[in-house]
């Protein structure tokens, strides 16, 4: 049985509208959602259903028009930008569809970059980066630049970057969207391993059926949650 203490992310009556070409688009309509600590949740739905908007508001990248976002016990719906930055630095790891690695930095430097603004010493940052790269089985590529890596390797590097600061939550936006089927399996298996071994809560957005990897699949359509299975 789960108590409220186990809830890592909670959305309460969240609404979000966009104005595009004069028309108002309701991206999120009365969304209520609870993600437990250590859970692997998958938000699935067709393009334009509001799943990415939901990910954005849950991570504080975008603000809801109304409703509350409780992240690890703190309402972040009206938090300042600096507070949200600190929250992301301390508690959230991001994995992007397009990897978003800095092309002029090596794999090691890309992973380290998360900790550059912290007070940690360079040696400690290097040790953590090596450990994160080892976790994603990419240590032998540490001195390679993104252009020298395959799509799967880039995404594993991005995952190493997402776990270097040992976040409580990993938010993944279509992490296998740009990958071939084999790399997709590897990346999803890696996320599953991180979820189990590090007890990291994972919230993954996808338009494809990846429900076999998750503990919970949230189906969305037209800005609403239609089913949770």
């Amino acid at each position: 049985m789960s108590s409220d203490k186990d809830i890592m992310i909670e959305a309460v009556d969240v609404n979000k509208e966009y104005r595009r070409a004069g028309a108002i688009i309701r991206a999120l309509a009365d969304v209520n959602l609870k993600i437990r600590s250590g859970e692997f949740a998958i938000i699935q739905g067709p393009t334009g259903c509001g799943k990415s908007t939901l990910l954005n508001v849950l991570s504080g990248l975008d603000l809801p028009d109304s409703g509350r976002i409780i992240f690890d016990g703190e309402n972040i719906a009206r938090a300042t930008e600096d507070r949200l930055s600190r929250l992301r630095r301390q508690k959230i790891g991001f994995v992007f569809q397009e990897f978003n690695l800095v092309n002029t930095l090596t794999a090691m430097e890309n992973v380290e970059s998360v900790l550059w603004p912290t007070v940690l010493r360079q040696k400690e940052i290097e040790n953590r980066a090596i450990s994160a790269l080892r976790d994603v089985d990419l240590l032998d590529r540490k001195d390679h630049f993104p252009v020298q890596m395959s799509g799967g390797e880039k995404q594993r590097c991005a995952i190493a970057r997402a776990i270097i600061h040992r976040p409580r939550v990993i938010l993944a936006d279509e992490p296998s969207g740009n990958l071939d089927p084999q790399s997709e399996k590897e990346v999803m298996a890696l996320l599953k391993k991180i979820n189990k071994e590090m007890e990291t809560t994972i919230l993954l957005v996808t338009h494809r059926d990846l429900s076999s990897y998750g503990d919970k699949t949230i189906l969305m359509d037209s800005g609403r949650i239609t089913k949770i299975k």
Binding site: L61, R86, R88, Q97, W116
Partner: protein
């Protein structure tokens, strides 16, 4: 973070080289014409040239700041997603601008220093029947550094205003979206 700014600027070889060379030329010419102005050579024309170089360096510094933020919007947006504050990003951007200018200054000072050493040596030789002058004195270089610091502060302000406008959400959009 300053060390990382240096790393980032050195990895952008083309932009770094181009702007370092431009800064080097501008710093040298500004110092030279300030020196000429002090010595009364070229009359008022020297100070008009100083004004032109000041305007050019102001334009280029603002352009450099604009290029650094606008061309790398996705990188800064990604950094914001992974927890960088606007201030952290500004430290990186201003560090890149500052380092590029500093390298320009080092090159100019190095060249002037060696030139002065050669001139002093040649002027001491008994068989030389001409006198060479030191190209630029220390004072014009110091004044030029003041001008460039002022110009860079304006570039930092522009960079900060642009950094504030970079929304982290850009990082989640597909390339070209």
């Amino acid at each position: 973070m300053w060390r990382k700014a240096i790393l980032l600027s050195l990895r952008e070889k083309k932009v770094f080289t181009v702007f370092t060379l431009i800064y080097t030329t501008l710093i040298f010419l500004t110092s030279l014409f300030i020196g000429l102005g002090f010595r009364g050579e070229l009359g008022e024309l020297a100070w008009y040239f100083v004004l032109i170089f000041f305007g050019t360096s102001l334009f280029l510094s603002l352009l450099y700041a604009w290029i650094l933020v606008s061309r790398k919007r996705r990188v800064w947006a990604t950094f914001k997603c992974i927890g960088y504050t606007n201030k952290d990003i500004l430290v990186l951007v201003s560090g890149i601008i500052f380092f590029t200018t500093l390298v320009g200054f080092f090159i100019v000072i190095e060249v002037l220093f060696h030139y002065a050493a050669i001139v002093t040596y040649l002027n001491q030789l008994p068989d030389v029947y001409f006198t060479l002058e030191v190209l630029v004195d220390l004072l014009p270089v110091v004044i030029t550094s003041g001008i460039f610091i002022f110009v860079q502060i304006l570039a930092f302000i522009l960079a900060y205003r642009k950094v504030l406008k970079v929304r982290p959400i850009i990082a989640l959009k597909k390339v070209g979206e």
